[in-house]
Symmetry: none
Subunit: 193 residues, 4 copies
């Protein structure tokens, strides 16, 4: 391995780790395997990262940052809701791996990591900046609506799409089309504000 560009090595590690974590879960993914897949020495991972946890943290941190800084396609002009949603879902599909990890880690009872909620927070408050003006009771209802009938179904769709399709023997296009139809009818058409 050329001792040239530490930045590239670090990127490589993060990419490989993201993929592997999503495939087998954080705990079942070993540093050994990551190093082999990245084509580098095990110890090199510890040159770039304090420990295994910090690889995960950096993945989460990068994800949170990206989500906070992006322009929401929902707010883009000139597109109808269906097309906007399709664009958003395609965007998230590219992030399927890190979303899988995020969901898995959030579910563990013992975790103190709240990256999932941080992302949800920024997504939801991005969308409706007037949210803060609402009365508390309404605000919490709105939050529940956004989180449990919008955010969660969409992330789960991205993550479970393939298995859903395989189990129920459906074809690819109909699955995404159907999902967009039902999420519009159930979530977007029933918005409170």
């Amino acid at each position: 391995m050329p001792k040239i560009d530490g930045y590239l090595t670090k990127e490589k590690i993060l990419n490989v780790a993201e993929k592997l974590f999503s495939e087998v879960g954080y705990d079942a993914a070993s540093i050994s395997t990551i190093s082999k897949l990245a084509g580098i020495n095990k110890a090199t991972i510890y040159f770039h990262f304090k420990n295994k946890q910090s690889v995960l943290h950096e993945l989460f941190f990068n994800m949170i940052e990206q989500m906070e800084n992006r322009l929401l396609p929902v707010e883009e002009s000139g597109l109808n809701l269906k097309d906007k949603l399709r664009k958003e879902i395609d965007f998230l599909r590219e992030k399927k791996d890190i979303i899988s990890i995020l969901l898995m880690e959030s579910i563990k009872t013992n975790t103190r990591d709240d990256s999932l909620f941080q992302i949800a927070y920024s997504e939801i408050y991005n969308k409706k900046s007037r949210l803060t003006e609402l009365a508390n009771s309404k605000k919490n209802l709105f939050l529940a609506h956004e989180f449990f009938t919008g955010f969660i179904p969409i992330l789960n769709f991205v993550v479970l799409e393939d298995k859903y399709r395989n189990f129920f023997k459906l074809d690819e296009e109909s699955v995404i089309d159907n999902f967009i139809d039902v999420i519009i009818k159930s979530h977007y058409n029933t918005h409170i504000i």
Copy 2:
């Protein structure tokens, strides 16, 4: 029949494993820890189970069986939708641990386990037995509706409830009440059939 804390040893193992798996995930939970928490010898676990995997399988199997055989409160007479839902959610809350495990394992890309979908299938087909009579296109739309706007949000609510409440600093009763309100409006009131 030797018992530990009133449970048969095998049941004790299953209970402890279920709790630990949900806390730290299947991979981070060791047979050693399970045996210590159950107050038995490590080797005893291997008397009752072929290996670690089969402890998980038995948990999943039991869960699937229970879900298939239960009477859906939704179909019970005399209760309005809100109360029925509340009953159903309370039932699922008691199964929070196994549901957590189920969700975590389903998300792993590499898993071939489809217990989550088996349960979804039986839940959804239980509810609407006439589903099979529908035309294919309608059927798939219905399936997407049930799975992604009903089943998934409800399971995720059960599993994420506490963390959601803590992160957004909400009080317990309002969280469940709000969830029931929004799931009714988004899922139940928008049923296709």
Copy 3:
């Protein structure tokens, strides 16, 4: 390896560890090497001991216990001082390994282990039970005398004897004889009480 008598295995580990620690120091002695020398599997050490530190602790603990419970030959009747001392030194020579470890570990500035002082305490107070009756100023002088001109020289003799002999090209018997002569003249003949 026969899975028969865990007690023997533990003893074997302690013996091997004691020897190796004294040869190369605690930190340079690896669990791997210990296991190989003991003819057992590395993991077996962790069945009998919590971790590497606890192997050291158990060695120290055993040493402290032995020292506290032994009858001091110095108090034995019928022997003159020279013979008593010779007996005592021969007793300590058999414990050369653990004494080496004890001294090395005591010297480390960062150590919080005070096994050396615990042993010194019990040795010194054993010898002169009337010590407690002394006035404080005398007591401390007595302590300094016992510790720095008796205990420390003797332990260091046991530990450095061979190297001292080799460096100065002396023969074995003259070294021990000379040491006994000088320790009697300097320490025992100058006792305060």
Copy 4:
């Protein structure tokens, strides 16, 4: 000439290493830690030193050189024994770290390093140059006296002083005063020649 905190880099490395070695022992002190404490890059250490061992060797070499070249305060005129001893001990106290390392390394059975004895040799022969004139039997007795009842207790005092004081809950001044008293009575007043 690049300096760190006013020291040349090499000196800085030696100072940091000396301190760390004395705190945790040679083996537990890593080049990594030394470089961090010195505020330099790990590789820089390998520019100034062949390897880790040679850092230790240079520390020992410097110490030996210093000890060989110093004027012994014991021989200074105008001071009584007590004051001379106090001066000597204060001199050695400043070398506490390197003395700790020296002692620890000397105790290891496997070590072939004899720096401790080299220093002892030059100290003892410095003091009494007419030593060589003595008959062999007397010489060896004298050597044993100097080494085991003078040199060793003094070095051990310097190294164990703090721990001795803490364990027996003594105050600083009384400890050094008492030590000087007892070493005079036991060692200096019992000189053979």
